[in-house]
Subunit: 408 residues, 2 copies
Amino acid sequence: MSGPARVTHASTRAAVLDLVRAAGMISRVGLVNATGLTGGTISTVVRGLIDEGLVAETGHAESTGGKRRVMLQLNHFARYAVGVHLDDARITYVLTNLGGAVVARISRAGAAADEPAAVVARVAREVDALIDSVGVERGRILGLGLVAARPAEHQEFGRALERATALPVVLDHDATAAAIGEHWSGGVGATSTFAALFMGTGIGAGILLGGTTYRGPSGHTGEIGHTCLDLDGPRCWCGARGCLEVLAGPAAVVEQARADRALSRAAGLVGGRTRAATPVAADFAAISRAARQGNTRAVALLERSARYIAAAARGLANVLDLEVLVLTGPSFAIAGSVYLPVLRAELDSAFIARDAHPISVRLSPSAASAPAIGAAAIVLQSELVPRRQGLRLPDDLAAEEPPVFLAR
Amino acid sequence: MSGPARVTHASTRAAVLDLVRAAGMISRVGLVNATGLTGGTISTVVRGLIDEGLVAETGHAESTGGKRRVMLQLNHFARYAVGVHLDDARITYVLTNLGGAVVARISRAGAAADEPAAVVARVAREVDALIDSVGVERGRILGLGLVAARPAEHQEFGRALERATALPVVLDHDATAAAIGEHWSGGVGATSTFAALFMGTGIGAGILLGGTTYRGPSGHTGEIGHTCLDLDGPRCWCGARGCLEVLAGPAAVVEQARADRALSRAAGLVGGRTRAATPVAADFAAISRAARQGNTRAVALLERSARYIAAAARGLANVLDLEVLVLTGPSFAIAGSVYLPVLRAELDSAFIARDAHPISVRLSPSAASAPAIGAAAIVLQSELVPRRQGLRLPDDLAAEEPPVFLAR
DNA sequence: CGAGGATTCTTCAGTTACTAAACAAAGAAA
DNA sequence: TTTCTTTGTTTAGTAACTGAAGAATCCTCG
């Protein structure tokens, strides 16, 4: 009662390029099977990609009885993209090639309360340094992806950066970027439905449904940090009570640790003594270190946090029928090994669709720079995968119609 | 830094038909504005729809300075569809026209433990009776939508029903159907991102993102009933603790009411005394009645349930950036007036994206038969909105490639 | 070694679904 | 009546595909 699983893509060229990237190496026949297009179409599309220098023939597969397949690969060094992650604490820069592999990476202290114009100049300077450090021609750089927790607040910053760097700038949410980064740099299947659970200072999730980024009508998606886990819990700035972020976010973990004299001393927390720029991040790292070294109080604190996050993650998985869940972001980069088994256990035992398909839970191999890598991946997508012109459907249709009606 | 909001549709014909349906009445120029297509394209597409008898010209709008627009409307009685909702307690049948309006409706007791073959025969007979009751030609009936809480268990039933009724059968989840029904029968914008919160015996949600049904990779979407709201709450059959369904579902409300002697007597609960086929549904109705009549204990019970559901609904809205939330299904049909204000208050005060756009929370005008209406709407969609052939992307690409590789 | 089959890849004519632009029809304003 | 505006249709052209024929390459077996 239902046809074969088919997915409509933005454009054929983009779909083919995406398949070549995802497969690592694939033949034209492989593309025919994967796309459902005819050999003729694949032939011309691939020729175009080769002419543009994006794809290259790299050898032959063994014969299956007739002519050998010519294998195709992404020409990884044909194009580059810059990714910038603006965090309160740090600014992370990466330069990636077409495959999403990091070619250069630098990380600098955040620009907390500095003057905007000065920050733009500084970021532009650091982007230049990043590019110069590997000597990539500027003409081969497709653009700059800029991601932050609240992208809407950085629109003007983005425009200024566009002028300062002479690179096209795209702006996005950091959690969404992290998800796209995981998808682009492989590991997650091309059409998979997955979420990147992102923990920095706050907690969020980037969502890809069937390989397509889900951004929602206003871009405020994946706000899993404000999932309720205790109806009568402590108040959150969002207006609700018992939000995940308040109960189990890094700030909450750090606060709980600081209240524990013994743990504070053992882990060497700074928050109690100094007014450092980023006491939460530093102390969260210290607690994680203590946990790795076997401090039972630190372990208990993190596992308590993990149980809350696991419950929220299960809720997300149940709502979206997720196939993959990736833990990423600075905080999971530090403490992921504590959280991972707790989340796995939760989803193995109580994910509703577990009989229909498995859900793979894993730690990002590049959790700390995932948002920046994702920012670059968004540029790769937006430049190489031009959106096909679809149908514009304005919110208010009725308003465009004349109000008066005369019966015939 | 971002283009105009555009949406790709399955096919132009379908998109135009959908716009005509959603708008109720619209001109060709209105369609041009709404779709972004040119006048020429709209002209030919509309001609095709008129030739098929699906759309009709119904008069003129007032002039805006030149020629008056010819208004188009759906030809509501050109086609029909049957919707069947299989519930443990009841089987609901509807016959709808092209606009999703109910033309005939019957409801019968559920077929709990009867023999499958007998149930198929009975349902086929009742469908015939439904159709005969309004004398619609069978050739104008596009098909039969069959929805249930666990559609996967009814595959064989669906096939048998297809043979018995000689109508094409499509199978789907009841909550998803309810959402599609709300969308199809208007009230919710064409491209809106919304969820239908469905409460029958369990709690689920049907999800439409940007006007497109979200079914997930295995169809287990919107399982909001297993959202965790208490880490150390009571065990649920799903394997977790503190699930919404266990804390606040109709069964939980009824159980709590039965434990209250005074309330049991006042509301006249049957569950304690008899072994009726559907004690939960009947008692939930009794509690709702008592609440409406001012019984403070009944009100308190339902409001407690509502607070839990509101928290879970807020989580869903925060994750998906919802624009609309519709309460539907038998239990909301009975007690929706108690739940609605609680959900509204929760989302007004703590929905993350509330500064970006409002979220409209409302009660379905046809909550009791929403799944059946949605089942019919699915038929209308699947028959009138043929999926465009997209790109097939098999899960396992690598397997199709020959394993051995020879460098050139 | 060479003919024949298998498989891969390209070419080319034809189809579909669009756009752009000219045109025709209908009403408003002067 | 003339002119302008707006609506809707027609037509020629284009992009992106399909289907089928054919060329290229490799394997196998006599």
